[in-house]
Amino acid sequence: MSDETPSRRTVLAAAIRGVPLVAVPLALAACRGVQVLGSPPPPPAAIRALSAAIAAEELMLAMYRAAIAQLPAGNTPAALAVRTVQAEHAAHLSQLRSRLIEPAPSPSATPRPVAIPPGSTGSILQDLELAEQAASDRLTGQLTVLPPALAQLFASIAASEATHVPYLQQVPGAAP
C-alpha cells in the first residue's frame, strides 16, 4: 500500500528521535455524530412507512411466539436463541411505536393468528431466517421517504434483523 509508506517512515523517524507518538483514541475516531434525535412531525409517507414497520414487528413477534410454542419444550439452544432474538424484536417495536406521533391504532383485541407450519427445529429456524431477511430488506427499501432520525432507526433495525439470520443459522439443529 503506497500511502502507508510515508507513515511508516514517520513512525521510524519519530522512534529514532525519541519523539513520543501521539495516538488517537480508536473509539473516539470511530464514534462521531449520530444526529440528535427529535425532529418535526414526519411527513405522511414516513408515517405510512412507520405504521407498516410497526405492523411488521408485531407480526414478527407473533411468529416468534408461534415458533417457541412449536419448539421442543425446555431450555434447548434453539429455544434460548429464539427467545434472545424475540427480545430484540420487542425492543424494535417499542422504539418504533415511540416515534409514532399520531395516536397509535388500538391493538386488536384478539392477536392475529400466525401460522408456522409444524416441523423440525431446523425448518422452524429456517422460516424465521427467511422472515428476518425479508423484514430487513423491507426496512432498507423505505429509507428514502424518511426524515433523518427515523432513517437511522430503520437502518439500525434492518441491520439488527440481518444479523439474526447468521445468528439463527449457527444454532445447533439449524438446517445447514
Binding site: L26, A29, V34, E88, Q95, T140, Q152, A159
Partner: protein, 145 residues
C-alpha cells in the same frame, strides 16, 4: 451543504482508517491458518475498500480525504485471540455508528451507501461476537424510553 456532507463522510473515513489499523492488531493475535485469521483478512479488505470508496466520494465533492493517524490507542489491551475478537467487534460497533451519520444525509445514494455499510458492520460484529444487538450503531442515549 456540501461542506456538511463532506464532514460526515470524513468522520466515516476516520472510522475506516481506525478499523484498517485495528484489524492489523487483530490479525497479529490470531493463530496462523485459523478461520478467524482468514475472517480478519476478509474484513480488513472490506474496510480498505470502504476507506478508498469514501476517499473517492470526498474527492468528488471537492474535499481532501483525511489521512490515517500514525497509531491508534486501543480501547483495551489485546493479548489473546479472544481479546482480538473483542476488539474487532468493538471497532465494528464504532464503524456502524459513523455510518449511521451518513444515513442521516438526504442524498438517496449516500443514505443507501450508509445503510449498506451499517448492515455490513453489524454482520461482521455478529460474527466476531457470536451474538446480536437490537440497535447496531445507535448509542443508547438516542433511544427513547
Amino acid at each position: 451543504m456540501t461542506g456538511a456532507v463532506v464532514a460526515v463522510l470524513q468522520s466515516a473515513l476516520a472510522a475506516e482508517h481506525a478499523a484498517c489499523y485495528g484489524y492489523g492488531v487483530v490479525g497479529a493475535h490470531l493463530v496462523m491458518g485459523s478461520t478467524a485469521l482468514a475472517a480478519a483478512g476478509t474484513d480488513w479488505i472490506a474496510h480498505q475498500r470502504a476507506r478508498d470508496q469514501l476517499a473517492a466520494m470526498i474527492t468528488d465533492r471537492g474535499g481532501l480525504p483525511a489521512v490515517s493517524a500514525v497509531a491508534y490507542e486501543l480501547p483495551f489491551a489485546v493479548t489473546s485471540a479472544a481479546t482480538a475478537a473483542q476488539l474487532a467487534a468493538t471497532m465494528e460497533d464504532g464503524v456502524a455508528q459513523a455510518y449511521l451519520a451518513v444515513v442521516a444525509l438526504r442524498e438517496p445514494a449516500l443514505r443507501s451507501f450508509g445503510a449498506a455499510q451499517v448492515l455490513a458492520a453489524a454482520l461482521r460484529a455478529e460474527s466476531w461476537r457470536g451474538s446480536t444487538q437490537p440497535f447496531p450503531g445507535l448509542p443508547p442515549t438516542s433511544l427513547r424510553r
